[in-house]
Symmetry: C2
Subunit: 468 residues, 2 copies
């Protein structure tokens, strides 16, 4: 059904464009955007920005020294790139820090294990937690288990994430990461381990946030690398009690104020109307945050810079937001909404790049149906990049959630995520995972959408609940 | 020229087989071997042995607790598999132990680095070595550099290993690992780092032995993972002094006695003549030593067991040697030769499996030219497995070096090593890297060679210097 609807929309769109021979954008603009799109395919600015952030700053866990360095980096880069206005908006959150991380099987076979704490995990005692491991294939199995089986034990969920181009294996698998600690605590367990939420076979465990609420009891929680999880499963198959010890030093540590770093290319006609683009500036601490999300910051910074340089001042303001603490709090997203909730109607359309640096293959929207004709020219210009329409049910990036929920229209440019979860949230998230050609294709696509939307004064719909 | 020679030999071989319609092996034996070859393609014994050694013992660095466990494991398995004679032959060597390992760039950008000590590296002081990094693209560059440039600095060699099916990129790249520390010391440097000798892009550095001689000065030496080496290169490109600190706790630590564990399937006619097969029992300590070299041990143990079980007692003794401390001393190889040098002429033919678990694609020999007709039937039976002849210049495995140099004829079954150096000597050398089907293809090939050679009383040549 969804597919049929999509086809219907596509046919409708094409009909609008070809039958009426009319466009919502000037021929000159369309020609300029086409030229810039093709120029962007060979431009290295986004790669240079990605290289710069990962090399000169590196890991930038929210609340760490790297966070402050990243903020300074972003401010300086926006200025260097000629943004008209650069703003630092404070974002305060509860800081979480990683500490020592060790794990080993004690019996029946001594084996060291590779482990990393889940984000927001509480610490173990210094000497670690030692206990028998009880194995569940899925979170559901753990949820339905008898508490008597779990009391005093370490739970272990071995669910394996599936590889898909659109990353859809993540949503299924990640529930274990989110909830294992609270479910384990509720049943009297003393700690929990999960198989990493990732598609690789490397000894590089995947961190990522877990649920934490001061009012809900929890246990220390870590992810084993996938080969380590395999090893543990194989030992558990031998039907002997498996005793394991792990130590996590991670803990909350006071409050910290970071910043959403905002670069505006001001509009000539409606400077107070915004097309919102960006990525998140923070990263997990294990790698240098190349695909998550230096690339997203770089793609969108380069997009605004190229438009200003090659097409000139847009009618509306192009606002690039480099979001603070996406990873364990969506803190920047929440703070921005609080600070700007009175201006929501000026937020015309928003998108975020936060799924690596693979080629973009689909453009999705969540706009008023009446505004759909506005995207025909966008689709025509995206087509030669290998990008098709993905329908009008887009949710865009996580950092846009508060704005989308407040009614802002959004779009997404879906990246090929086949390999994304090999490296996501691991020490392996480094610059070498990025193909400069693919990164440039991303910029070309972002240029098309951003330049057209910033150069029309038409609207894309607001408060979409009404139009659904 | 080599290729022409190879073709000539192949034509000669085929001519021998087809024109004369004669065989050096009985039709019954050939039929039995063919049947067993096909059976082995679906047999899981080698995989089960690999799983058992990596799961129940895991890492087994020579001189470690894992070494002793592996020796006990091997003795027990040989007995369980019905070997006629199981012998532990002592192998004494200078033990080397790994310690703490840390590295970080201090300026111009603070970045933690992933490092591992090279085997036989001496330790740094406890507080580490801090110094300016001086970059060389190759070992040759370092060798020709002015000592004034190097004095008081940390050298860094960034040569990148190439990926080839036959692993030939290793020989070119590994010289940096072997010699960097001694060359650096000779020129007054204080430490050395190399880009890992590996073809992957993982944050899992590759260890491996370096040259050590108490009479030649040296410096502490480590390998950076490949993404870390890339990062360092990118920082060095910025033309600012790069200051780095690294700490290695590795050191020599007394003497240790391990064992070559030898399983014999005794011959009925010439029990004192041996076909030597095997792998090395020790591994590096970072992974569980699955492809290096649990698989080699398992392939050859399974080969002897399947032959005895399905074809019966061989005419000559099939001797499976699980060699001690291959990785940082070839200690087992040397000890075996010393203990058996009076029996060299009874060592009819030898091979070692020590290149992972990829499909075998070539069979090579180093036998007397007069014995070449003996391999026609072997080649005919290997052909359906996708295995061609690789000529008569084989060097076989490292553990056979003393025996080969003493005159023993050798063979090799060359494995596809395209991915081998992604994992070799890293934490990533784990069971999941092994495809059970490919492992079974290995056993099928080893069965063909071993069963035929063990069931003829003809010779393959000795002291080949004369026949070259």
């Amino acid at each position: 059904m969804k597919k049929l609807l999509l086809i219907a929309i596509l046919i409708y769109g094409t009909a609008m464009a070809s039958d009426h021979q009319q466009s919502h954008y000037s021929p000159k603009l369309l020609s300029q955007v086409k030229q810039l799109r093709d120029y962007a395919l060979n431009d290295m600015l986004a790669y240079e920005l990605t290289e710069s952030l990962t090399t000169e700053v590196g890991a930038r866990l929210a609340g760490s020294e790297g966070d402050a360095k990243a903020v300074a980096w972003a401010k300086a880069k926006f200025n260097l790139l000629g943004f008209d206005r650069v703003t630092l908006e404070p974002v305060t959150f509860r800081r979480w820090v990683r500490g020592e991380e060790t794990a080993e099987i004690i019996s029946p076979y001594q084996q060291p294990l590779t482990i990393t704490a889940l984000g927001q995990s509480t610490p173990t005692p210094k000497e670690g937690i030692t206990g028998q491991v009880i194995h569940f294939s899925t979170l559901e199995e753990l949820k339905t288990a008898n508490p008597e089986e779990i009391k005093g034990k370490i739970t272990f969920i071995s669910n394996r994430m599936e590889r898909h181009k659109d990353g859809s294996g993540y949503g299924t698998a990640v529930a274990a990461r989110s909830s294992a600690a609270q479910v384990t605590a509720a049943k009297g367990g003393i700690g929990t381990l999960i198989r990493s939420i990732g598609t690789d076979n490397n000894r590089t465990p995947h961190t990522g946030v877990m649920n934490h609420d001061d009012n809900i009891s929890t246990v220390p929680a870590g992810a084993l690398s996938n080969p380590d999880a395999d090893l543990l499963v194989n030992i558990l198959k031998r039907d002997q009690a498996v005793i394991l010890r792990f130590t996590l030093g991670s803990d909350f540590d006071g409050e910290y104020t970071s910043y959403n770093v905002i670069g505006d290319m001001l509009g000539s006609e409606q400077p107070d109307e915004y097309i919102i683009i960006g990525g998140h500036l923070d990263s997990w601490d294990l790698g240098t945050g190349a695909i998550d999300d230096a690339s997203g910051c770089a793609i969108t910074m380069a997009t605004a810079k190229l438009i200003k340089e090659h097409i000139g001042q847009p009618k509306r303001t192009i606002r690039v937001i480099l979001w603070a603490n996406e990873e364990y709090g969506l803190s920047g997203a929440k703070a921005y909404y609080e600070a700007h909730q009175g201006e929501m109607k000026q937020h015309i359309l928003g998108g975020e790049s936060d799924f690596g640096a693979g080629n973009i293959y689909a453009f999705g929207t969540r706009i008023d149906n009446k505004a759909l004709p506005l995207i025909n020219d966008i689709l025509n210009l995206l087509k030669p990049l290998g990008i098709d329409y993905a329908g009008n049910q887009s949710f865009s990036g996580a950092d846009l959630t508060p704005l989308r929920e407040a009614g802002m229209a959004v779009f997404s440019l879906a990246q090929d995520g086949t390999e994304y979860f090999d490296y996501h949230h691991t020490a392996n998230d480094t610059l070498d995972k990025i193909d400069p050609q693919k990164l440039a294709q991303n910029v070309a696509a972002w240029v098309v959408v951003t330049a057209l939307v910033a150069n029309t004064t038409e609207n894309f719909g607001f408060n979409l609940q009404d139009s659904e």
